[in-house]
């Protein structure tokens, strides 16, 4: 079902974990449809020094978050803005059609982390729009 690259990133996820006191953190997704992704960025002088992720989701979700972090590590913020879900999918040699939405999550998580960084530092990143607010896990439970 998955390509070799997807399986590799699933089995050996790169940059999995968290960054204490990160410059920017982005969490996207919704527990209801099962996909939650969080990306931590450590940015210094507009350069992404370090990046980590955590993901609750399928194989494709894990692999795309892993790949997305690899693609932005060491890059400038501007370059990171070009890491779209398409770029991530291409880097993984493709995803099954039913799993394309998982790669969108990676793009969204990255942009949410960048937004958080921009907000904290009072700067504007060209082309970046405010992410949809993430519904907290607890609220989901209460709703039930």
């Amino acid at each position: 079902m998955y390509t070799k690259k997807v399986m590799d990133h699933f089995q050996n996820p790169r940059n999995m974990g968290e960054i204490e006191g990160a410059s920017g953190v982005g969490t996207v997704g919704n527990a209801k449809c099962g996909d939650i992704m969080r990306i931590y960025l450590d940015i210094e002088d507009e350069i992404i020094k370090d990046v980590k992720f955590k993901t609750f989701g399928c194989g494709a979700a894990v692999a795309t978050s892993s790949m997305a972090t690899e693609l932005v590590k060491g890059k400038t913020v501007k370059e990171a803005m070009e890491v779209t879900n398409k770029a991530v999918m291409e880097a993984l040699d493709g995803l099954p059609r039913a799993k394309v939405h998982c790669s969108l999550l990676a793009e969204e998580a990255l942009q949410a982390a960048l937004w958080d960084y921009a907000k904290k530092n009072g700067i504007v990143i060209e082309g970046l729009v405010e992410p949809k607010p993430f519904e907290e896990h607890e609220e989901e439970e209460e709703e039930f």
């Binding site: 999995m16 969490t27 449809c33 099962g34 996909d35 939650i36 955590k54 609750f56 896990h137 989901e140």
Partner: protein
């Protein structure tokens, strides 16, 4: 371990070697069309009738009440659509449950679009139907009750005899999808007051593409697949002789070994359940603890997602299944897990283990150890678990 550990017998079973051997002559030598007149085909007709007897015997029916189909799905469709049409003049109301197989649910949804009214009974947290709910749901217009004998995901076995008695008392026909039950637990269509019952070959070590529908004598049931005069003109299409023979053989073997095998599997299952619940935190068993198929265990692991779990198990050569939305390709996780009241995110982290005749205690141990490691690993990766730990830390502070 470098051999696959297959723990997904509810999805399908291997066809037994002896079953395949029984089938083989009917492909290349005794291949004749049973409807033909020459003696060469006569033996095939006999082979079919022998298989029919074996199937009938397995559920306490008469062989004249058994009709072969292409599988459990067709049997479910036929029973429901057929009765709906044949008894239309009596009413248009059907009762089923929220946790049926899609073969029943989607057929009922189709009927709803065509002027029928369907009541979907809710089940309790263990997946059981409350007989009182059934009683209350029956109306003047109710023509059919369809409640599965045992659930394919959570393994819960229904109080089918009680439900059947209620149907009978109300004069309503009672269908049960017994695809997961036949060959695993004892069934008697008379004692259980069952009027129609669906079976599938490939769930009991028989071939795929073959099944049967039991139709109690005297029940009007139109053809679902129209064609030649096969199956007493009730099911058209050249008889699938090799598969019918294999199905007969498989069901015979399943019934013969049922008592011993279900005891053995239930012991493995209980060991597995006990160990998992004890050794993996934030974990629950889905389905009834007692009224459950001997070969089924279904767990939910909080904070993790089922597909990832399955892939990691697969990497350890373990084949299992999940009710996660990510696996099903739809946005919603299993309707069965939602039906027993699990919140979405817990339903997501579900794992179904369904045992078979080849599974051993060693394999259970290997599964348990693997699960412990994998669940921990996935939790490490989970933002939900991170949030949970932080919240806990806050509370403790």
């Amino acid at each position: 371990m470098n051999k696959k550990i297959y723990l997904d017998h509810a999805a399908t079973t291997p066809t037994k070697k002896v079953v395949v051997e029984a089938m083989l002559p009917y492909f290349t030598e005794k291949f004749g069309n049973p409807s033909s007149i020459y003696e060469f085909s006569g033996q095939n007709k006999e082979a079919i009738e022998e298989a029919r007897e074996l199937v009938a015997h397995a559920i306490g029916a008469n062989e004249r009440e058994i009709f072969f189909t292409s599988g459990g799905t067709e049997s479910d469709n036929w029973a429901i659509l057929g009765i709906a049409e044949n008894y239309k003049s009596k009413g248009n109301h059907i009762i089923t449950t929220t946790i049926e197989h899609h073969a029943v649910l989607h057929t009922c949804e189709y009927l709803e679009k065509n002027g029928y009214e369907v009541t979907y009974l809710e089940v309790d947290k263990d997946g059981r139907v409350n007989p009182n709910d059934l009683k209350e749901a029956i109306k003047e217009t109710t023509i059919l009750i369809s409640i599965m004998l045992a659930n394919n995901e959570i393994g819960t076995v229904q109080p089918i005899e009680e439900l059947g008695a209620i149907a009978k008392a109300a004069g309503v026909l009672f269908h049960t999808d017994a695809v997961q039950a036949v060959g695993h637990i004892p069934i008697d269509v008379n004692a259980m007051h069952i009027d129609l019952l669906s079976i599938s070959g490939h769930k009991l070590y028989g071939p795929k593409g073959i099944g049967a529908l039991y139709v109690r004598k005297g029940i009007k049931l139109r053809s679902f697949i129209h064609g030649g005069g096969q199956e007493k003109k009730r099911r058209g299409g050249t008889e699938n002789v090799p598969a019918i023979v294999g199905f007969g053989k498989a069901i015979e073997l399943a019934i013969t070994s049922m008592e011993a095998e279900s005891k053995r599997q239930a012991e493995l299952r209980d060991y597995l359940i006990e160990q998992v619940l004890e050794r993996i935190p934030h974990c629950r068993l889905n389905g009834h603890r007692e009224y459950r198929l001997p070969n089924n265990a279904n767990f939910s692991f909080e904070f993790i997602e089922g597909e990832s779990l399955l892939i990691m198990l697969d990497m350890k050569d373990i084949c299992a299944s999940s009710g996660s939305a990510c696996t099903s390709g739809s946005l919603d996780p299993s309707h069965v897990l939602l039906g027993i009241g699990l919140p979405h995110e817990i339903a997501h982290g579900s794992l179904r283990i369904s045992l078979g005749e080849q599974n051993t205690k060693e394999e259970m141990d290997y599964l348990i150890e693997s699960l412990i490691v994998i669940v921990a690993r996935l939790r490490e990766m989970s933002p939900l678990y991170e949030d949970y730990l932080k919240k806990q830390a806050k509370i403790e502070r």
